[in-house]
């Protein structure tokens, strides 16, 4: 079984890794935690991830375990500035707009609470006025929780992470309490259900299932003596694990999801070796051990439908593999479920390099599941950016590794995510025709249609998603959150555009975003300019520009300032403003600034039917 710490530690800079692993050992000590924190402090800050402020509100005393929680958060990896509110001031802080939890640039506010502290009556209902009275208290508590959460999300910029309530640990009358509608078990279930509904209805509110965590960790995560002594219920081991658990839930805010799952075939998607055992000799189905492989396939299909692209890379004969896909009755995955397949005897890392180019994705967005020690080792050696999900070849281990990986963690799945696989499939169909001699003729043959429009409520979420994910064609890589976007667009004169692309294969959704805000001297400044890499090379970038130029002229802006902020990934956008005819007026190592004054009119590309910003 792969422990969460093994996954997390693999991302930490080498010099600190051993110390951190030691701290997460079987019998952790405070000295080992301090040594691990010191080892991380000693590492160059740039290798430790972003500097982030995290705010913690709890119904118990977190202070005594703060270094252990912080160590878990370090494994995101990040450099957490952890700020903890005084014991049991959750509601006050969420309601007080001057509280530090409303600090603008913090990563998140996390709430950890237990029914034992918030409403202890549920543990002792008969001496607390009876079950009906206790039930009323639970209702009241919920009303206060909901009010505080809505108030916070209505104003604060940072997302709010609420823990679910764990089942109470120190409780008498287990049998009786389990039967009572006004009892502790029922109260926990009811509050957790309501939390789920609230999270689904309030954007920026997420749950972390602390109740699940407590059941997984068991009694060893808690320390009854500490609970009495320090109003702090966690054991050291529990605090370390909880830090990792919270960290995993915050990680998607700073680390993008892996986009591609690379799957091997023999002894990964089925048991046995096709070339030796033949189709009939393969193990796959409802009986052991074929049921494990079937479940691996099912998990992969689930990821596919969440927007993860599946890629098949197998050293086999393609005709035989196609036959196996056709003939095997219990295949959960079909040949068509893979956006790209390489059934050949080339090195897998070379195959992946090719596929990355073909899909227009960075190799660092790939994750791989492969039973072969050799293949995994070779990948680590030649293409270390590819995440190797499993560490061993046992199928049950592979299944568990796939289920427990954080590589595909996300808070939501958008319509674009769900349709992504089809888009790339079509893209493959399109790129197959890219060899046609005349590029413009080819582009015309796609019947491309662009719909450019002002950002509105229905498209804001997608814009924020693109701002957070687009790396390659992204001139400034500014990761605005929803509230920041709204604020930018609220400024008089600002122009925010989206471009939706469709072609004869179907609708590709919003693939381009351009944000421009008024600047000094009657100019506009381009704050953000990005195009999804799957839509590059079709005139989308130019089409957005043509529309901005038109609107800038109509708005009587004197000129437009463009900025290029280099990152390790956006090299392909470096010369873009030069290409559009901007003049460079400032260049530092962190930014190149351009100006076009006055704004020249420009036509959108001829092959792209555009609605002209309506």
């Amino acid at each position: 079984m792969q422990r969460p710490v093994d996954i997390a530690v693999s991302r930490l800079p080498e010099p600190a890794r051993a110390a951190v692993l030691a701290a997460f050992g079987e019998a952790p000590t405070w000295m080992s935690v301090r040594r691990a924190n010191a080892a991380l402090e000693a590492v160059d800050a740039r290798l430790r991830g972003p500097d982030v402020a995290i705010h913690l509100l709890a119904s118990f005393n977190v202070e005594p375990v703060e270094p252990a929680l912080r160590l878990g958060l370090e494994c995101i990896p990040c450099r957490p500035q952890l700020r903890i509110a005084p014991l049991n001031t959750i509601e006050q802080h969420l309601l007080d707009k001057t509280s530090f939890v409303y600090q603008e640039d913090s990563l998140a506010t996390v709430v950890l609470w237990r029914i034992e502290e918030l409403i202890p009556e549920v543990l002792l209902p008969y001496s607390s006025g009876g079950t009906e009275v206790v039930r009323g208290r639970v209702e009241q508590l919920w009303g206060r929780i909901e009010r505080a959460c809505r108030a916070y999300r209505g104003t604060a910029k940072s997302p709010l992470f609420l823990a679910t309530f764990p089942s109470p640990r120190q409780m008498s009358g287990l049998v009786l309490n389990s039967q009572l509608v006004g009892g502790a078990m029922n109260a926990v279930a009811e509050l957790n259900r309501k939390l789920g509904e609230l999270a689904a209805s309030l954007p920026g509110l997420y749950l972390l299932d602390w109740n699940w965590w407590a059941a997984q960790e068991g009694a060893g995560a808690f320390d009854p003596m500490m609970e009495q002594m320090a109003r702090q219920p966690l054991s050291l081991r529990g605090a370390l694990s909880l830090g990792l658990f919270v960290g995993r839930h915050l990680r998607p805010l700073v680390a993008p999801r892996r986009k591609v799952l690379v799957l091997d075939l023999d002894n990964t998607l089925w048991g046995g070796i096709l070339g030796e055992d033949g189709v009939r000799g393969l193990k796959l189905g409802h009986d052991f051990p074929g049921n494990i492989y079937r479940r691996i396939q099912r998990e992969a299909r689930e990821l596919k439908d969440q927007g993860v692209l599946l890629v098949l890379v197998s050293k086999n004969d393609e005709a035989e593999v196609r036959e196996a896909f056709r003939e095997l009755p219990d295949m959960e995955l079909k040949w068509e479920d893979f956006v790209s397949r390489r059934v050949n005897f080339n090195h897998k890392h070379e195959n992946l390099r090719e596929i990355a180019d073909e899909l227009g994705l960075g190799i660092d967005s790939f994750a791989m599941l492969d039973d072969s020690d050799y293949e995994r080792e070779q990948m680590r050696m030649f293409q270390p950016e590819v995440l190797v999900i499993n560490q061993r070849s046992d199928p049950l281990h592979m299944l568990q590794a796939l289920q427990s990986t954080d590589a595909f963690d996300a808070y939501t799945v958008s319509a674009e995510d769900r349709g992504r696989h089809r888009e790339y499939e079509l893209r493959e169909a399109r790129s197959g025709r890219g060899h046609e001699a005349n590029l413009e003729e080819f582009l015309r043959s796609l019947h491309l249609e662009a719909t450019v429009e002002r950002i509105h409520e229905g498209t804001e979420q997608r814009v924020v998603q693109m701002l957070s994910k687009t790396n390659q064609f992204n001139l400034t890589t500014r990761r605005h959150r929803l509230e920041e976007l709204k604020a930018l667009m609220a400024a008089p004169g600002s122009i925010g555009l989206t471009l939706r692309l469709s072609d004869k294969f179907g609708d590709q959704g919003i693939v381009g975003v351009l944000l421009a805000v008024p600047a000094e001297k009657g100019r506009l400044r381009i704050d953000s300019y990005l195009v999804s890499c799957r839509a590059l090379g079709r005139g989308v970038e130019e089409c957005l520009w043509a529309e901005l130029a038109k609107q800038a002229r109509a708005g009587k802006f004197a000129g437009i300032i463009g900025e290029y902020i280099p990152t390790p990934k956006n090299g392909l956008a470096e010369k873009f403003f030069d290409k559009l005819g901007f003049a460079r007026f400032e260049k530092t190592s962190s930014v190149t600034r351009y100006l076009m004054e006055p704004v020249k009119p420009v036509e959108p590309p001829a092959w792209l039917a555009s609605n002209g910003g309506q």
Binding site: A27, P28, T29, W30, M31, E63, P64, D223, M225, M226, Q228, M229, A230, Q232, S235, L236
Partner: protein, 81 residues
Amino acid sequence: MVETDRLRDLLVEFFALAPEIAAEDIVQERIAKWDSLAMVQLIVEIQTVFGVAFDVEEIDQLTSYVQIRQALDRKGVKVSP
């Protein structure tokens, strides 16, 4: 020759004390860092390192090297060879 003493070493490292301090001088009132927060962590530390669990009454008494050593002695734990 100084005898190795695992408890003394633990307390020296835990409170970052001068390495030459006499074990008998390690007393809560004389060590500013030994506050209630440190006490909570120290108990976990001693229990884990020496593989013991203290009762409530014992915990109340663990305020110096000498007393911790006595408590460990009663549990049959030797802090030096």
